[in-house]
Symmetry: D4
Subunit: 164 residues, 8 copies
Amino acid sequence: MSVAIVMGSASDASIMDDAVQTLRSFGVPVEVRVLSAHRTPDDTLAFARGALDAGIKVIIAAAGGSAHLAGVLAAATPLPVVGVPIALADLGGLDSLLSMAQMPKGVPVATVGVNGSRNAALLAIRIMALSDPRLAADLVRFTQELAEQVRDQDAEIVARYKQG
Amino acid sequence: MSVAIVMGSASDASIMDDAVQTLRSFGVPVEVRVLSAHRTPDDTLAFARGALDAGIKVIIAAAGGSAHLAGVLAAATPLPVVGVPIALADLGGLDSLLSMAQMPKGVPVATVGVNGSRNAALLAIRIMALSDPRLAADLVRFTQELAEQVRDQDAEIVARYKQG
Amino acid sequence: MSVAIVMGSASDASIMDDAVQTLRSFGVPVEVRVLSAHRTPDDTLAFARGALDAGIKVIIAAAGGSAHLAGVLAAATPLPVVGVPIALADLGGLDSLLSMAQMPKGVPVATVGVNGSRNAALLAIRIMALSDPRLAADLVRFTQELAEQVRDQDAEIVARYKQG
Amino acid sequence: MSVAIVMGSASDASIMDDAVQTLRSFGVPVEVRVLSAHRTPDDTLAFARGALDAGIKVIIAAAGGSAHLAGVLAAATPLPVVGVPIALADLGGLDSLLSMAQMPKGVPVATVGVNGSRNAALLAIRIMALSDPRLAADLVRFTQELAEQVRDQDAEIVARYKQG
Amino acid sequence: MSVAIVMGSASDASIMDDAVQTLRSFGVPVEVRVLSAHRTPDDTLAFARGALDAGIKVIIAAAGGSAHLAGVLAAATPLPVVGVPIALADLGGLDSLLSMAQMPKGVPVATVGVNGSRNAALLAIRIMALSDPRLAADLVRFTQELAEQVRDQDAEIVARYKQG
Amino acid sequence: MSVAIVMGSASDASIMDDAVQTLRSFGVPVEVRVLSAHRTPDDTLAFARGALDAGIKVIIAAAGGSAHLAGVLAAATPLPVVGVPIALADLGGLDSLLSMAQMPKGVPVATVGVNGSRNAALLAIRIMALSDPRLAADLVRFTQELAEQVRDQDAEIVARYKQG
Amino acid sequence: MSVAIVMGSASDASIMDDAVQTLRSFGVPVEVRVLSAHRTPDDTLAFARGALDAGIKVIIAAAGGSAHLAGVLAAATPLPVVGVPIALADLGGLDSLLSMAQMPKGVPVATVGVNGSRNAALLAIRIMALSDPRLAADLVRFTQELAEQVRDQDAEIVARYKQG
Amino acid sequence: MSVAIVMGSASDASIMDDAVQTLRSFGVPVEVRVLSAHRTPDDTLAFARGALDAGIKVIIAAAGGSAHLAGVLAAATPLPVVGVPIALADLGGLDSLLSMAQMPKGVPVATVGVNGSRNAALLAIRIMALSDPRLAADLVRFTQELAEQVRDQDAEIVARYKQG
């Protein structure tokens, strides 16, 4: 029972490392791959077709520009596929976001925000938590920790701007 | 074990009916609600907080413009939340898509395409199929039927344009 | 009688400090908070619901990306809420601007420009000046000072480019 | 004590009528004008400069394209100015929204969404309610009615989709 | 020696018929197919891999939204692939255009304008004319006819607006 | 002494007729042509090169999509060239506006708004009025008439919304 | 007989200096001013109304964001007004471009590209050359020099890439 | 038998050098030129008209902003023209992409992605490979090498993230 993180190029690893660390911090096994919809299409299809039997539960796919990777994977597996649009140097990731989100009827991709690596991991965890009570409990804790972090920031800012 | 479809306004029902019918065609129980992040925030929060215990597995949220509904729900439940950006009369849904997809770190929304009602349903089914072998088998059949439909279109178009 | 400045993350403080200083320069008491629509939704709602009784007159809310904070606050208070769209690294703030401005009928947000921290403060002051003659007089002086600054710039530029 | 609704062209009246009716439903006196920043600049300035003394509390300004009207008014009055970007046939109102929202430091415009006539009125009412307890009470009632309308829609949709 | 026109859905035929007729008017054999990158990925790959041996010289691929078809074909054939971004109901084809044009290094797609069916055909003809003197001569004639049509329009407009 | 209105296609005449009528209402002789930067490049260049000697003072060029016409004309004449971006069915004229406005250093095009036919004519008249006192006087009258039209609209709207 | 360059803020001078130098290199007297549509509206109107009698032939106006300056000037003078949209830190100048170009019928602004300072100057020179044979001759020379510069670049590049 | 790379300015060479090196690595003779649609229109036309007879098979044209170069060349030659939109400092290349892709019916440009220099070269090679068996074989090898590079990246990433 693991999550696969697939990126279109090794250069996406600087963004996707956050997803790896997030999943590991939840104790979720992660498999990380570089597979290109356009440069290794056969490897990509073979991976997608074998993913279910390999015990993968969710595939996270990251790509930029004509970001076809998530859609190509989603077409070849019944598993849920989460797409992370990577921003290239130009156009601010709008190309990647539209290429991932605007999928035709029949083949969904669960798109998160531009460079939204951590949220992709958390979405995968939410999905896996449906059948894993430990993960569900950890998610509740995580949400509480998030709130605590914001409350700490709040206390720090309130103090900084206290009129005196 | 059901899917909840939540829309920000009853006027979204013309788009979201496709999601209801898709889920029902897979035998998935559906609960449909109108809840507004801005006009009934308490009802919305109460719904989100009770969703897990009510046996809901996935929440599909549809909204247009400043489309906060999906994010507000995702903040109040550990369940996976799928967002459907609804196109308003102006701006072609770009506002709705960005409002849904660009969530801050910690609270993911699984965004599908503009007016992507059917794909939201299919994403929910993919998620539920992880622990439901019948759904998994139905998804495989569905994918085969999709392929058959395209092949029928292909045959029709090949015939139409056959040079003779 | 004060203005509350609420930001979704402490990292917005570098932008919002300008609003704090502007309000203080007009002698308006300021309360600065970090509250997240998605990470501390209960704190956010509690704050919004208590704001009127706490003597707050205007709430300024700053957030980036799926910038729901201003809308969530506006849904829970009858006070005027001013929204400051914060530009993230990608997309130039277009996502933040659309997420704030395109609110559904019934719940308005007074949106200013991207990173428009100072103008948010000045809008709050205009609102409070309606019932505060000293503020109204200070606004007139401020507008005159603005004009003087431009006239100084004009004199400097006219001199710089004087043909001779 | 009234609100002025200023539009750049009589053709904007079909959009702005909603603001007029909303304000009147709250018992707020409304003055409606056609004033053009570009075609009657003197009338526009004279109106803005006399607005405070005429007992106007908030100015709502509607314009499309290079939507300068709100900014020009805001430059000539210390009153809060609410801007309504009107969508022209092309570009979906993006031009109007950016022209209104992206004001320079010093002169704020409270921008609402594209064609957001009703929300402009409600923002004006929120502002006026700060010093008018009856309006404040009416706003609370209005918010409750909004919620009731959504709950009625919810009941209708729940019934429509009840599985039986 | 033929051109293949591949569309992602039979609904694209109303746009792509212009390409078929244009190619036939130049005497170029056309094969028209419906193949979906997402719904019949195997058929699509098989087609692309066999295209060269089937005597196809250029592949024209039309798709809308997450328009991956052209890129998927280009990844599986060394033939030149021309992409036609089809405009969906929303977003004016910007999603389709960016999905097609922004291909990663190594796999080019020759993208024409939104719904640019005829120009895709003419681009294919230019490519084939490199090794077909008859086509090259026909292209010169076509260009002259285009010029004549514009000159006829010019004469008609000059006459219509002749001041008298 | 005349103005030339050049359009890339006779289909632009429905938009450009407004420019013709506006110029004629000012007594300015108009020459209307259909010349295509891409389909009749030689005619276009010949026209541009002869324009000065033909007594033309200003060239107005209208085109849509890759709207090169104005730039191509400006490159071949020292006359001022006014560009009118024509909106095609998709993309709302954004393509046309950017194609016209973003000219490289050295070759300016005076771009007006999308479909801004009348303003192109008025810009040409402003330019010609620099050396034609009658036109200058007519422009002043025109501006006064514009103001009168707005004042008539104002009176009509004030009456319509007079509370009674 | 001069050209006025008006900027909304002294910070625009780094962009507009190119326009000043270009005009001076053609021997055209330049007057440079800082005038703000929003901060010194009276000075701006007074300037615009006196421009014709002051012997100004063309006004170049530069502003960013809600770039109203050019439109406000054009409303108050019959002179041709050239607008230079200045790019702010966010949104790449799209806001400035749309605010300048999309003027209502009746009041044209001759918009050049984002930060297009030099082209604004050259457009002014083209306009003034209509009644100034020396400028007309200088423009021809300038165009020839432009061509020579490109030809020098061409020679340099041809040499650099000469295969040998 | 060669490919011509034409750029609108020598400053584009930093982007286009990749195309030169790619073509040379395939043994394709390259001619590199600087020709400006706006500054040396005659040279540009002369080049385009002589290209076929000079043995050029494909023209690659790179330009930014109002990127007319590719279209102007395509209008004057029956050869296939590949357009490379160059991103300027502002607007992320959206202006260049739309200026190149949205060509009118009759004159196609094969547009690749923003700054897509290498893909332009590869598209030219695909076109030339139609009649050059050695190039066709080299393309197959190149595609295999691309796949190998991705597989090397995959191995490196798999190793880096191997859990142990």
